[in-house]
C-alpha cells in the first residue's frame, strides 16, 4: 500500500509539472494592427443611449459613435464630426447643421438629415438624458444634408449637449427593433464598428474603412472587462493589455518604470461633500460654514489618493468645462474660523451633526474618515454610515442623509450643475434648494440666464455670481478633481492622453 500510494502521488506531481512545462509561453502579444484594451465593467449595451451615462461604457462608445460635434477632451473646444459646419439664426434659437457629404454609417448607408432627426427625437424620449435634451424644441429636416435643431430659447450649451447625443442609423435601429443594443449593430459613424459583443466576456471592433476622416491606423480593438484593478495592472504588465488606467496607488512605481509610457491625467470629475441643510443643526448657516472651514482639502487629497489629485476650487472645473467660472468663492481651511462659526451658532462646546454617509470601500470611504477627523478637531461629531451604492443613490434622491461624501463625472459645460441645483430637478439629487431657506428662484434664474447668454464673457460672469451664491449656502463643498494614471506600452504612439481614449488617433510606431 505504502509504495503504491507514494508512486501514485509522485506520478500526479510529475504529470502536473511535466504538463506545465510543456505549455508554451502564453502569447497574446499584440499584433501591430490591433490593440487590447479593458474596461472596469462589462459593456452594458451596444446602444449608446439606453440608461445613465456610464464612464466605462463611454470609453467604448467613443470609438464607435459620434455626434454632430465633439468636444476635445484636452482643450474643451468643439470640433466638427458628422456635421461639417453650422450656423445660428439671428434669434439664437435655430442651429442649422450641414452634414458631411461623405459621412457614412457602418452599414455603408450615407448619413442623412432624417437620421439626425430620428436619433435626436429617439433620445429625447429616453429618461436619463434630459439634461441634454430638455432644451431641444424640435429637429427638422431641411434637405438630405441639412438639419435644423430648434432650441426652446437661446442656448449656450447646445454644442455640449449635441456632443453627447450620438447619431444612429435609423435603418439599423428600426430593423433591429427592441433588440437594438443587445447584439452587434452597424448603426454608428465612428472610426470603428463592433464585430463581436458578448456581455461579460468581451467585444471586438474593426476599423471602418469608409470613415470620413480616413481609416484608423490600428485596425482592430479587442476589449475585455477586468473589474479588479490589480488584476488589470497585472494583465497590462504581462502584455495582455496595451493601454490601461492604473490604480492611483501604483503611480509612484509606474512613473519610474522606463519600460512603459505613463502620464498622470486629470479627470473631468469632482469629489465633493454634500451637506443636507434640512437636518437638525445643519439647518444653521453657521454650522455648515464651520464644517466648510474645518475641512482641509490637502488632507483629503493626501489621505485618500496619496496626493495624486487636483484641489478643487469649485464644483465645476474651469478650463475644460465651458462657462465654468475661474474666479469664484471657496472656503479655505481655517480651523479657528470654523470654531468661530460654531460659537456663533451657539455650539461652542461642540455639536453632533449625525451621520456621514458614504459608499463603502474605495477612496470615498477614506474621504469620510478624514472628514470625520477634521470635524472632530473643531468639536463637530459625525458617525460614518457606510452603504452600498444602490442604497446610497436611493437615499440621496430623497435627501435621506446628513452629510454625504460622493463624486460625479462632469459633462463639459457648467450647465450640468443644473442637475444638482436647479429646482426643476428637485428631488433628483442630494440637495433640495427649493423652499424657504434659500433664494432658489435666483439660482434657477441665473441658470436660465447663463444658458441663454451666448457671449462667453457675459456667460461666465453670470455663472460666477451663481457659483458664489451656491457656494455661500455651504451645501456643496468641492474637494478635489481626481487624476488617473494612464499607462501604455512602448511602441504605441498616443497623440492624446485622455481618460476617454480616441484609438483613431493612435498608431504603432
Amino acid at each position: 500500500m505504502h509504495k503504491s500510494v507514494r508512486t501514485a502521488f509522485l506520478v500526479i506531481v510529475a504529470v502536473f509539472f511535466l504538463s506545465a512545462s510543456m505549455i508554451p509561453a502564453y502569447s497574446d502579444q499584440p499584433k501591430r494592427d490591433s490593440v487590447n484594451l479593458s474596461t472596469l465593467a462589462s459593456l452594458t449595451s451596444v446602444d449608446p443611449h439606453p440608461g445613465a451615462e456610464n464612464v466605462q461604457d463611454n470609453i467604448v462608445y467613443a470609438q464607435v459613435y459620434e455626434g454632430l460635434v465633439a468636444q476635445n477632451q484636452g482643450t474643451g473646444e468643439y470640433e466638427m464630426r458628422i456635421a461639417e459646419s453650422y450656423s445660428i439664426s439671428e434669434d439664437g434659437k435655430t442651429y442649422t447643421f450641414k452634414l458631411r457629404p461623405n459621412a457614412k454609417f457602418h452599414n455603408g448607408e450615407p448619413v442623412n438629415a432624417s437620421d439626425v432627426v430620428f436619433s435626436l427625437k429617439r433620445v429625447k424620449g429616453m429618461p436619463g438624458r434630459s439634461i441634454y435634451t430638455s432644451d431641444i424644441d424640435d429637429v427638422v429636416v431641411v434637405d438630405d444634408k441639412t438639419v435644423n435643431i430648434v432650441m426652446k430659447g437661446k442656448n449656450a450649451a447646445t454644442l455640449n449637449s449635441l456632443s453627447r447625443l450620438m447619431i444612429l442609423s435609423e435603418k439599423e435601429v428600426t430593423s433591429q427593433g427592441e433588440s437594438f443594443g443587445t447584439k452587434v449593430a452597424k448603426a454608428g459613424t465612428g472610426p470603428y464598428f463592433f464585430t463581436e459583443f458578448e456581455h461579460g466576456v468581451g467585444w471586438k471592433m474593426e476599423a471602418f474603412s469608409d470613415y470620413y476622416r480616413g481609416p484608423a491606423s490600428i485596425k482592430y480593438i479587442n476589449w475585455k472587462p477586468i473589474s479588479e484593478a490589480s488584476a488589470g495592472l497585472i494583465a497590462f504588465e504581462s502584455g495582455e493589455l496595451d493601454w490601461y488606467i492604473a490604480p492611483v496607488a501604483n503611480w509612484s512605481q509606474l512613473e519610474k518604470n522606463e519600460s512603459i509610457n505613463s502620464e498622470l491625467v486629470a479627470a473631468n470629475h469632482i469629489s465633493f461633500i454634500s451637506v443636507n441643510y434640512e437636518r437638525g443643526a445643519l439647518n444653521d448657516d453657521n454650522v455648515r460654514k464651520a464644517i466648510a472651514y474645518a475641512i482641509s482639502k490637502e488632507h483629503m487629497v493626501d489621505g485618500s489618493l496619496d496626493g495624486y489629485a487636483v484641489i478643487a476650487k469649485s464644483m465645476i472645473r474651469p478650463g475644460y468645462n465651458t462657462g465654468a467660472p475661474t474666479d469664484t468663492f471657496q472656503y479655505e481651511y481655517d480651523p479657528e474660523k470654523a470654531k468661530e462659526y460654531l460659537a456663533k451658532s451657539g455650539y461652542q462646546n461642540g455639536v453632533d451633526i449625525g451621520t456621514i454617509t458614504v459608499v463603502a470601500g474605495g477612496y470615498f470611504e477614506k474621504m469620510a474618515q478624514i472628514l470625520q477627523a477634521d470635524l472632530a478637531a473643531v468639536g463637530i461629531k459625525g458617525t460614518i454610515r457606510r452603504m452600498e451604492n444602490a442604497a446610497s443613490l436611493a437615499a440621496y434622491r430623497v435627501q435621506d442623509y446628513d452629510i454625504a461624501v460622493t463624486g460625479n463625472p462632469l459633462t463639459g459645460d457648467y450647465n450640468f450643475y443644473r442637475a444638482m441645483v436647479d429646482s426643476h430637478m428637485v428631488g433628483s439629487f442630494l440637495v433640495k434648494f427649493e423652499g424657504d431657506k434659500f433664494d432658489y428662484k435666483r439660482f434657477d434664474r441665473l441658470f436660465e440666464e447663463g444658458v441663454q447668454e451666448l457671449d462667453p464673457v457675459k456667460r461666465m460672469a453670470i455663472y460666477t455670481e451663481l457659483d458664489k451664491a451656491v457656494m455661500d449656502t455651504a451645501c456643496y463643498l468641492p474637494m478635489f478633481h481626481r487624476t488617473l494614471p494612464l499607462i501604455w506600452v512602448k511602441g504605441l504612439s498616443l497623440t492624446n492622453y485622455h481618460t476617454n481614449p480616441q484609438v483613431f488617433e493612435w498608431k504603432w510606431e
Binding site: P127, I234, R397
Partner: protein, 312 residues
C-alpha cells in the same frame, strides 16, 4: 430507487418556492430601486418613477412575486435584464458552463490532491507524511482564494508568462482559477479525508480484517477506503454545489463571466430578474447535486442501496 429519486425531485418544488420568496422579499425591502441605478443621478425623480413603473417595480410586493413566478414557471419566461435588456435565461445559460467548468475542475483538483494525501496522512499518522501535508493544508486553508489567485497571477502570468491572467476562451484560462479555487478545498478535503480515514481504520471490522491476516493494502483499499469515502463524497458534493454560484472572488479576479458574479452584480444593480433567475437556477442545481450525491451513496455503499430498494 426510482421512486426515491422522483420523490426527491418533487421535494425541490417547495424548496425553490421558499428560496425564491426569501430572496424576493430581501430584494424588495432593502433600499434602492432599479430606476435610480439605471438612470443614475442625472435623471429626475419623475423619470426614475416612470422607469420603475415600466419595469413593474412599483407594484405591490406579493403581486410582483406572483407575476414573476407565474411567468418563470408557467410561461417559462425569466424576463429581461433591467441593465442589459438581454433575456435573463440566455445570460444564465451563457454563464453556467463557465461556473460549472470552474467548479468541476476545482473540485477535481481538490479530490485528486486532497483525498489521496489525506488517506496517506491517516495511514501514516504521526510521521512526516502526516505532519507535512497537514501543516500545508492548514496553511492553504487559511489563505483566501483571492490571495492565492493574486500570487498565481504574479508568478504564472507576470513572471513566467505561461497563462493569461484573465478571461475565458481556452483551457489555459482555467488553470490559475482552478488552482486558486481548488487548493483551499483540497486542503479541506485532505483534512476531512484524514479524519474520516482515521475514524474508519479504528473500527472493529478493520481490526478484525487485520487480525485475519489480510494485507495492509487490502485492508486500506477494500475495507477502510469505501467506508471512509462516504462522508468525503458528501462534503465534495456540497462544496461542488456551493462553488457553482459561490466562486465570486475568483471569477472577479480572473475576469471570468460566471454565475456568481452575475448574481452579485445583479444584487448591486437591483437587477431583480437576474438575481431571481440566478438564485432559482442555483437552487435547482444545488438540489440536483445533493440528490446525485445521495444516489452515489448507493453505488459506494451496498447498505444504502439495500435501503433504497427496500423502500425504507
Amino acid at each position: 430507487m426510482y421512486r426515491y429519486v422522483i420523490k426527491r425531485i418533487f421535494m425541490m418544488i417547495p424548496i425553490v418556492i421558499g428560496v425564491s420568496f426569501i430572496i424576493f422579499s430581501i430584494l424588495a425591502f432593502i433600499p434602492g430601486d432599479p430606476g435610480s441605478i439605471i438612470l443614475g443621478p442625472g435623471a429626475t425623480q419623475a423619470e426614475v418613477n416612470e422607469l420603475n413603473h415600466q419595469l413593474g417595480y412599483d407594484q405591490p410586493f406579493l403581486q410582483r412575486y406572483a407575476n414573476y413566478m407565474y411567468k418563470a414557471f408557467v410561461s417559462r419566461d425569466f424576463g429581461i435584464s433591467y441593465a442589459t435588456r438581454l433575456p435573463v435565461f440566455q445570460q444564465i445559460m451563457q454563464r453556467l458552463p463557465v461556473s460549472f467548468l470552474l467548479a468541476a475542475s476545482a473540485m477535481l483538483l481538490a479530490i485528486v490532491v486532497g483525498v489521496p494525501i489525506g488517506m496517506l496522512s491517516a495511514v501514516r499518522q504521526y510521521t512526516a507524511l502526516d505532519y507535512v501535508p497537514t501543516a500545508i493544508a492548514l496553511f492553504l486553508a487559511s489563505l483566501p482564494a483571492f490571495l492565492i489567485g493574486m500570487v498565481l497571477m504574479l508568478f504564472f502570468s507576470l513572471w513566467l508568462n505561461w497563462f493569461p491572467s484573465n478571461g475565458i476562451g481556452s483551457w489555459e484560462h482555467y488553470v490559475m482559477p482552478t488552482i486558486s479555487l481548488g487548493l483551499p478545498y483540497a486542503s479541506f478535503q485532505l483534512r476531512f479525508t484524514r479524519s474520516s480515514m482515521l475514524e474508519t481504520i479504528r473500527q472493529d471490522y478493520i481490526r478484525t480484517a487485520k487480525a485475519k491476516g489480510a494485507p495492509e493494502s487490502s485492508v486500506i483499499w477494500h475495507h477502510a477506503m469505501r467506508n471512509a469515502l462516504l462522508p468525503v463524497v458528501t462534503v465534495a458534493g456540497n462544496n461542488f454545489g456551493l462553488l457553482i454560484g459561490g466562486a465570486v472572488a475568483t471569477e472577479t479576479l480572473f475576469g471570468m463571466p460566471g454565475l456568481g458574479t452575475l448574481i452579485v452584480n445583479g444584487i448591486n444593480t437591483r437587477d431583480l430578474p437576474i438575481v431571481m433567475a440566478g438564485i432559482i437556477v442555483f437552487t435547482i442545481l444545488f438540489s440536483l447535486i445533493i440528490l446525485l450525491v445521495d444516489v452515489m451513496y448507493a453505488f459506494i455503499d451496498p447498505r444504502v442501496k439495500a435501503r433504497y430498494t427496500s423502500g425504507d
